[in-house]
Amino acid sequence: MSLLHLFHWYDHTALAAVMRKSTWAFAVVEMIHLIGLALLGGAVLIVNLRLFGVILRERPADRIARDLLPLLVASMAVLTVTGILMVSEETMKCYHSTAFRLKLLLFVPALLLSLGTHRKLTRSGGPPDSGPRDETGGGPLSRALAGSWRRRTGDRISVASFKPC
């Protein structure tokens, strides 16, 4: 099954019909999507600022990364599920949208890099006061990529509302 067939199929599912018909469903899903985005932004920012040595310097980065890992994974799961639901609103428009394709292309490396940075940090171990050991090179790049995938083009319809593509 090609990607085009997959989008065609998704466009004709009952779920897509419900999402298109209901104003509330889309709005609620979008709200959860934005809250997931905020939680992801907070978690990624705190870990990367710690890697830069800007905040929470008295705590080791591996401990911070370990504590925030559940939040990172949960917010990514929320974003993925709600993102898939939001796509159902305008499935074929998304398929043909360059911005949407770029977003997905950026999402994958950002996801891998964020999880990779966390994995590397949480497996590094070591004493709690070993701050400099945690200054790995993944932070700035991770932050840049994670920031990139969050950027998206919004429909010109509201202050903070955006369609998936």
Binding site: M31, A38, A43, I46, L68, G154, R156, S158, V159
Partner: protein, 147 residues
């Protein structure tokens, strides 16, 4: 009489300026709400349990203020693209009320509780209300489009 020409506003005359401003608006909203939510989750006993809420407030407050500054600046620009439409929008009015309440709440009661050691029940109420407040603000933002 002073007449405001909407077409002269760069946000209405340039194809890229509005979506770009909206990108900054949404990203900075995620920044300030995200940093506040991390403190809220800590108060609820979730997330960074090895740091105190006071440490988290100190570490993130600059970023929260930066986020608020960009949100308000980009919001004013977006508002200028069609002031009358926004002024007459109930979700927009609700959003502004929630934003004002949220900022006051964040820098008074919420901050005081995060920097002290109150009983756990009260901490839960403060953090829960904060999360609900910011979620409501996001919801009202989204509904500006549907009203």
């Amino acid at each position: 009489m002073l007449i405001y020409d909407l077409a002269a506003n760069p946000l209405n005359s340039n194809e890229w300026s509005f979506p770009l401003t909206e990108c900054f608006h949404v990203a900075s909203m995620a920044l300030c709400i995200g940093t506040i939510a991390v403190v809220d989750l800590r108060l609820l006993g979730v997330g960074l349990r090895n740091q105190t809420a006071a440490q988290l407030v100190r570490g993130t407050e600059g970023w929260t203020i930066a986020g608020f500054s960009i949100v308000i600046t980009s919001g004013l620009l977006i508002f200028s693209s069609d002031p009358l439409k926004y002024l007459h929008s109930a979700p927009f009015q609700l959003k502004m009320a929630l934003l004002l309440l949220g900022i006051i709440y964040n820098y008074t009661l919420h901050r005081k509780v995060a920097q002290s050691s109150p009983p756990s029940g009260f901490r839960f109420v403060i953090a829960g209300f904060s999360l609900a407040l910011w979620a409501a603000l996001v919801f009202s933002s989204i509904f500006i489009a549907f009203w």
